[in-house]
């Protein structure tokens, strides 16, 4: 389904040429969004909770071998496959920010959204992980973000709490949101500034300029018609990479 073109279309540009695969974005995301520690056993079983992953691939042959890194998070699809399959409207589209939201207290845990997400971006709370958090550690929880209970799905929200705070501040001061004012935790932590965030609906914003970069790749799984909101840049010294748009 096509969504109406509003004026608040948030998007992200990830520069793969700058990404060093350090994983700071994953850590920052976990701290900002109250992601639980699942413990060694469950993480080893494939249940680690992270809203982002950095996929590592290899290019060229030994000895000139090099690693390529692709940070992948929820692509905030314009036509999200996770939304129509949820029987209780826990996976919904926000009209204001045009991103895909998960309503934790509405979720009944059918996990259908997780199956239907082509980016495998969704995570499930297998246990009450937050309950097992030892005493001083629970003070690190971000008060702006819900601590999820077991049995619900969750995923990257583009740090919606940061977007909302800036939007409300701007509204209170009677001005539009300034470019660069909102920075998600991953972008804030990135040491090489590989992640740029902003309004794609504003053609003059930095993220829009970057998205029109000649190095912009085809959107991730664009052929599925999901209308992702994350643009990947790649082109410097990358033989054998996908064709530049």
């Amino acid at each position: 389904m096509e969504e109406p073109e509003g004026n608040g279309k948030w998007g992200m540009v990830v520069d793969l040429d700058r990404c060093t695969g350090c994983g700071a974005c994953i850590t920052a995301c976990a701290m900002e969004n109250n992601l639980p520690f699942v413990g060694e056993e469950d993480a080893g079983y494939g249940r680690s909770m992270q809203w982002m992953r950095v996929e590592r691939g290899w290019k060229d042959e030994f000895p000139d071998i090099g690693a390529v890194f692709t940070p992948i998070m929820c692509q905030q699809c314009g036509a999200a496959p996770c939304e129509p399959v949820c029987p209780v409207f826990a996976s919904v589209h926000s009209e204001g920010e045009q991103i895909n939201l998960q309503v934790y207290n509405r979720c009944i845990g059918t996990r259908y959204c997780g199956n239907n997400c082509p980016y495998i971006a969704r995570q499930f709370n297998w246990f009450d992980y937050a309950k097992d958090m030892p005493e001083p550690l629970n003070y690190q929880f971000n008060p702006d973000v819900t601590v999820r209970r077991r049995g619900v799905m969750e995923k990257c929200t583009f740090c919606i709490q940061r977007i909302r705070r800036v939007e409300e501040d701007a509204k209170a001061q009677g001005r539009p949101v300034r470019d660069g004012e909102v920075l998600p935790a991953c972008g804030q932590a990135c040491p090489t500034n590989a992640i740029v965030f902003g309004l794609l609906s504003d053609p003059e914003s930095r993220v829009s300029h970057e998205a029109r970069n000649a190095r912009a790749l085809q959107l991730l799984l664009e052929e599925l018609g999901t209308q992702p909101r994350v643009v990947y840049l790649k082109g410097l010294r990358a033989p054998g990479s996908l064709p530049v748009k």
């Binding site: 399959v85 209780v88 996990r111 997780g114 239907n116 980016y119 049995g151 599925l224």
Partner: protein
């Protein structure tokens, strides 16, 4: 029952021989109604100590493995199951599809065969219909069992609430809920209606709590002409109405998978393919249950004969062909399409970690039935039909297992591939099997498992007519 012209006998002795051959059909071997009633009542009321041992064992298994394990999972979290990213659905959903498949047997045997006037169905209809009801009872628990937060599972139902929230009617899970509820209610009514004359018969022949039980169930049935007419037309209407419901249920179950974007699931063929598979496993399960009824209950070798196993065997073979046709359409076209994500899935099935299951499934679902069921002697041997039904149902279970956790372990990001191994799912699957068997065992001693009036009706309508010198079995039209 086959209707064949018998060549003219050459002598008196040969004529008697033909007579015997004809008499092996239930409908050509009539007994008086009082005798049929007595046989069915006796079968229903006889319980051996062994029966009670089995029933208590099943009750124990159901309590511990199904309800106990489910309670434990509800108190600790879904994590005690083996599912993990990216296979968010596992054996729970595979078992759910299996039970919904089993439940297609009853409707197929009693509605479709009734509409097509297949006379051999007469003694088996109730046995098959009970499989529908109890299969659905076992299957319908699974969507609840697999919910992360089962205590708010009712949110999937449309009900008035002060938040003005409806369920999402675009979601196949809501369609599922509606389809399964409809099928459960419809098939329960469809079991009940032909049961009324039989419970009335049982009411007139029992005392004590059984009398009270049958008196309530029989709804004051007296057997007047008007009652019979209304019952017949109601059964006729229901037989036609339940067929589209049956088709819709498994089609909608298949849409849980087919409407998704997941490689391997996204297929336009899944609707008819699932229906063929459901009837295949359901009919095979009917063969198994007929064997169990025949060997464990009294007087059943009169009602359930080689001809019935023969007919069920032919249906199994036909549905094996149908299933194979759909399966290879699905498989070959995905391979021919060359889509990379589909290739990943098929590689996992044919060469990867699931390969042993995939080949086992082909042997169980195709090779074994095709090599045996063409043989009349195999089809007419009850224990062989039990074995074949067992093998086919294992094969069909593997098929569902490969579709649900098998295919979704592969996706478009090889970085995110992972495996699947069931944990508490195994326990709960055993529990739901014992729930099904427990309900069936109890029902077999509470309600007449053979529809006496239908058998008698068939026996009255069928007779040997002498045409010239030959004797030909004829069936008179009843409706």
């Amino acid at each position: 029952m086959t209707t064949k012209a018998i060549p003219l006998p050459q002598s008196q002795a040969e004529e008697h021989e033909h007579e015997d051959e004809v008499r092996e059909h239930l409908l050509l071997d009539p007994r008086p109604r009082s005798e049929l009633n007595r046989m069915v009542m006796e079968a229903m009321q006889t319980t051996t100590p062994m029966f009670w041992v089995v029933v208590s064992l099943l009750a124990l298994l159901t309590t511990v493995c199904l309800f106990g394990a489910w309670l434990y999972m509800g108190l600790t979290g879904m994590g005690v199951a083996g599912i993990r990213r990216p296979a968010y659905w596992g054996m729970f959903i595979a078992t759910f599809v299996f039970w919904i498949g089993i439940s297609h047997a009853g409707t197929f045997v009693s509605a479709i065969l009734r509409v097509f006037k297949a006379e051999f169905r007469r003694p088996l209809t109730r046995a098959a219909e009970l499989m529908t009801t109890f299969g659905l009872a076992a299957g319908a628990m699974y969507p609840l069992i697999h919910l992360g937060r089962v205590w708010v599972g009712y949110w999937i139902m449309p009900y008035p609430n002060n938040r003005w929230l409806w369920p999402n009617f675009r979601s196949p899970l809501v369609w599922d809920m509606i389809a399964i509820t409809t099928y459960l209610l419809g098939s329960t009514l469809y079991v009940y209606m032909p049961l009324i004359p039989d419970v009335a018969m049982a009411r007139d022949r029992s005392k004590g709590w059984r009398y009270q039980f049958y008196r309530i169930l029989a709804l004051g049935w007296r057997g007047t002409e008007g009652e019979w007419q209304r019952l017949r037309s109601a059964i006729q209407i229901f037989a036609y109405a339940i067929i589209p419901v049956m088709f819709s249920v498994h089609t909608i179950v298949s849409w849980d998978f087919a409407v998704s974007k997941t490689p391997g699931w996204h297929s336009t063929l899944f609707g008819p393919f699932f229906i063929a598979g459901a009837i295949y496993s359901g009919v095979s399960a009917v063969g198994m249950i007929l064997f169990l009824i025949r060997t464990t209950m009294k007087n059943m070798d009169y009602f359930i004969r080689a001809e019935h196993f023969d007919a069920i065997g032919k249906l199994m073979l036909v549905f094996s062909f149908t299933w194979t046709y759909f399966y290879f359409n699905e498989y070959i076209l995905a391979w021919y399409g060359g889509d990379l994500s589909d290739q990943y899935v098929w590689q996992a099935l044919t060469k990867g970690e699931f390969a042993w299951m995939w080949y086992l499934m082909l042997i169980f679902n195709i090779a074994v039935p095709w090599l045996t069921l063409w043989n009349k002697r195999v089809r007419r041997t009850p224990w062989m039909m039990f074995g074949l039904g067992f093998v086919i149902n294992i094969g069909m279970y593997i098929e569902r297992y490969l579709i649900v956790p098998g295919m979704i372990t592969r996706n478009r990001f090889p970085f995110m591939w992972d495996g699947y191994a069931p944990r508490i799912e195994l326990l709960i699957a055993v529990g739901s099997l014992s729930l099904f068997l427990l309900l069936y065992a109890l029902a077999s001693r509470l309600i007449p498992i053979i529809p006496v009036w239908e058998v008698q009706e068939g026996q009255v309508a069928t007779m040997l007519r002498r045409i010239g010198k030959a004797k030909v079995p004829t069936i008179s039209e009843l409706e």
